[in-house]
Point group: C2
Chain length 497, copies 2
């Protein structure tokens, strides 16, 4: 099962995928959506063996995995529905004006898949961001075949998910090359895929080192290709003075809960909390310490993740001025991840770039500042983030305009009085952010807009109606929203008028 | 006037631009659109001195320049109107469901400018693709300040256009750093700009060599940035058998007209025409020869362009199997560009990659094929193109499905019975294509969608209504189209319902 796929076999899969592409791209948006609903059904139909496999391979609890399975099914269904709605892959029609000098042609723009997409799944979401996860669903929705480089952390889970997709492919009568998984426990397999001329785009969720290596490979090809790599961040939380004054204990409890949720193994884990020196600070820290001390350590996804957590945490704790505030149950055995919160002064944080590095796991750094200038300098020094959070009263917002304005420059999602863990799958979600949170801040990897990463516009000029793709035909047979002569409408185009 | 801007001065302009960014990004879409209309007015108000400067610097005729000026003004106005319509920078709102477990947050996504954009204009469109051209208008629409690296071919024209933008900036009370031009006749100035940490995106129109060099620079930065480089193509035209049979003379005349329009100096110039060996072929070639022979040579944009044209043309003509079919008025003096059409068999074209290279200017290569397999192989061998064209009867379309399907893979715009010169500014236009036609086929550099190159989504979660950007407020004060809970609507959000 976990044997590496040979380079020869990968070549074969790529050839099949390219053949599948040329067939699949001829399907209309409704047919594509219907296939995606079929995939959703097949995943939904996977029984307890899926949950059991994932539990064994990831240490994630059953309830979480059940929730993640439902989320994965929902991704396929909602992205499918977005195709039919017509508001993600925009359809633009500008009709002719033959009487103009020179005559204005008829132009109709749809979207077409880029070609074969290679997906590198994450270990922390074995369903939702892996084999049958958001990148795969986005690429299929865009009209692309997908080759997944299976995450070595959960090969059996991947095989079950890959089986569900392949069953749907067969039931839909689509070419089997539309989806395949490739196994490789070294960098070479992925490198071969990303460098292959038939591959036209890459989706990645994981570490900065991994994402950057793939970005460089993709950019150096004779034909560079787009890559969307989501590489995590420290997701800073700014607790502002009035809120601290009014709700120190509540904020401490909520922060501890978000920090330790899922053993801190989320891309949006709030790794840094920034707070003013204020009479209520001690109260906040006291409650936070209690909460963390009372957190039971839990097993992390796998030994590699846990080893990295302990190592990176030790590096941070060894930095000048960093003091441990709370440590859950001391040193833990095996691949357990014990929650730790430390504190440091803003002046020391500003002087040491290492303190801004992500520690993947339940590690929080409380940064205390003496004045607003320090807080602003701190925001300025932060690299790009997936999220930034304000815990604030309305009057805090008014007195921290510059800080807030700066934070809009630094993140893809800005939260007010909430915590960034929990990434909703919806149109308005932005999961991605300025580099190095992701390699291209213009796209998201969550929500129907994620489809746009893998599609490109294609315009037809003066093309006969009967030869146009369905979404561009005068009659609007798919009944979708289209921009016709600048106006959004679902109406057909009637030249008799 | 044409002195190079010093590196120190460029640093100063970048600092001003960044300051301007932080102010300008707070303007709402209506304010931005109103500023863009002001720019359009200022350009429109430029009198005969603009046309005179451009004529002196580019050799383009007055009528063409008057048309291009109107086109440039239209770009600013139509991109401004697209902002107000709300169908380019998508607004997505998903309202909260507090009763769900876990509670569903309120999420609202708008777009924000990437930051300072550096624009490298083209020489062949001194108005529409240069200082105040489409890239500048797109970036300003997206909420970004712009620094243009002035094209050394038309510095005086650029200065007038830059003056018009700066006047509009002043009249609108916006910070002067919002727009600046930089002069540099070497690669260093551009290199410094593209490598600067404050620069967040690049727009380029020009040669493959220039675009690729900037792409590599942008990708190698510590913080890689997006670049959209439109690098031209040979824009293949396929004349299919039935059309050749029915309209050989007409097609020859139209092809010659498109090939020689503006001395062949368009990115979409149809440099290659593919046609079957057919009894009517000689008729087609005969008329084409007559048309080309009768074309008066005209002066090209500048000496560099004309030198490159004669050099690249000579390289193509020296290739094995290439025969000159027609040459307008023999060798021409100075920077004139004389039209030349040569022919070659498909088998020889397929064996020599050089024959697919663009010759910027009025040079056409007629490739003749013996059977459909050769035509398909030819389409397969083509690199990415801005456009591909079918000259065909309906029955040709039916009998050439594979060829047509292949061409959709190779281009951004597919034409039926027309010619690719003439790039309409409208929503449905795609100007860009698979690499190497452009560096990112997911975007266009013409039409309101060009704005998307320079904007990124930003989501607000659970943010108080009064602190949201106007386009996200419940009341929809800008009265724009928004996707609310998956449905496109202009209605306000009323929680009392």
């Amino acid at each position: 099962m976990s044997e590496n796929t040979s380079i020869q076999a990968i070549e074969g899969l790529l050839t099949l995928a390219q053949e599948a592409f040329l067939t699949y791209k001829r399907s209309n948006l409704k047919q594509r959506a219907s296939f995606m609903h079929q995939v959703a059904d097949e995943i939904e139909a996977l029984g307890p063996e899926l949950i059991a496999a994932a539990q064994a391979e990831t240490n994630l609890p059953e309830a979480r995995l059940m929730g993640e399975k439902a989320r994965t099914v929902f991704q396929w269904r909602s992205y499918a529905d977005a195709l039919i709605a017509g508001n993600v892959l925009d359809i633009r029609i500008d009709t002719a004006t033959p009487t103009r000098t020179p005559p204005k042609p008829d132009l109709r723009k749809t979207c077409t898949g880029l070609g074969i997409v290679v997906v590198f799944g994450a270990s922390n979401f074995p369903f939702a961001f892996s084999t049958a996860g958001g990148d795969t669903a986005s690429a299929i929705a865009a009209g692309c075949p997908v080759i997944v480089k299976t995450h070595p952390g959960h090969p059996n889970t991947s095989a079950l998910m890959a089986g569900a997709i392949s069953t749907a492919v067969q039931k839909a009568g689509l070419p089997i090359g539309l989806f395949a998984e490739v196994r490789s426990d070294s960098f070479e397999g992925g490198q071969f895929l990303v460098s292959h001329p038939l591959v036209k785009a890459v989706g990645f969720t994981g570490s900065f080192a991994g994402g950057k290596a793939l970005y460089d490979l993709a950019a150096k090809r004779p034909e560079p290709i787009p890559i969307f790599a989501e590489m995590g961040s420290v997701n800073p939380v700014f607790l502002l003075p009035k809120k601290l004054e009014n709700a120190a204990a509540e904020m401490a409890k909520q922060y501890a809960a978000s920090l330790t949720l899922g053993v801190g193994q989320f891309c949006t884990n709030p790794g840094i909390l920034v707070v003013p020196n204020h009479p209520e600070l001690q109260h906040f820290l006291h409650v936070l310490k209690q909460e963390i001390d009372n957190t039971a350590p839990a097993r992390m996804l796998h030994q590699g993740i846990s080893d990295a957590y302990h190592k990176n945490k030790a590096v941070l704790l060894a930095q000048s001025g960093v003091k441990v505030l709370a440590m859950a149950e001391g040193v833990s055995a095996g691949n357990h991840g014990s929650a730790v919160v430390a504190s440091v002064k803003a002046s020391q944080f500003l002087a040491n770039e290492k303190l801004g590095h992500e520690v993947f796991g339940p590690f929080g750094l409380v940064v205390t500042y003496d004045n607003l200038e320090e807080a602003v300098a701190l925001a300025q020094t932060l690299p790009g983030q997936l999220t930034a959070t304000l815990l604030a009263e309305q009057q805090d917002l008014e007195s921290h305009q510059t800080l807030i304005e700066l934070l809009t420059e630094k993140c893809g999602r800005l939260l007010f009085n909430g915590f960034p863990t929990g990434v909703e799958i919806c149109y308005a979600m932005q999961h991605g952010g300025p580099y190095p949170a992701s390699t291209d801040s213009r796209f998201t990897s969550v929500g129907p807009d994620a489809i746009r990463r893998f599609a490109r516009p294609l315009s037809y000029q003066n093309w006969p109606d009967e030869s146009l793709p369905d979404e561009l035909k005068n009659a609007n047979p798919l009944e979708i929203w289209r921009t016709v002569n600048g106006e959004l409408t679902k109406e057909p185009i009637d030249f008799r008028l």
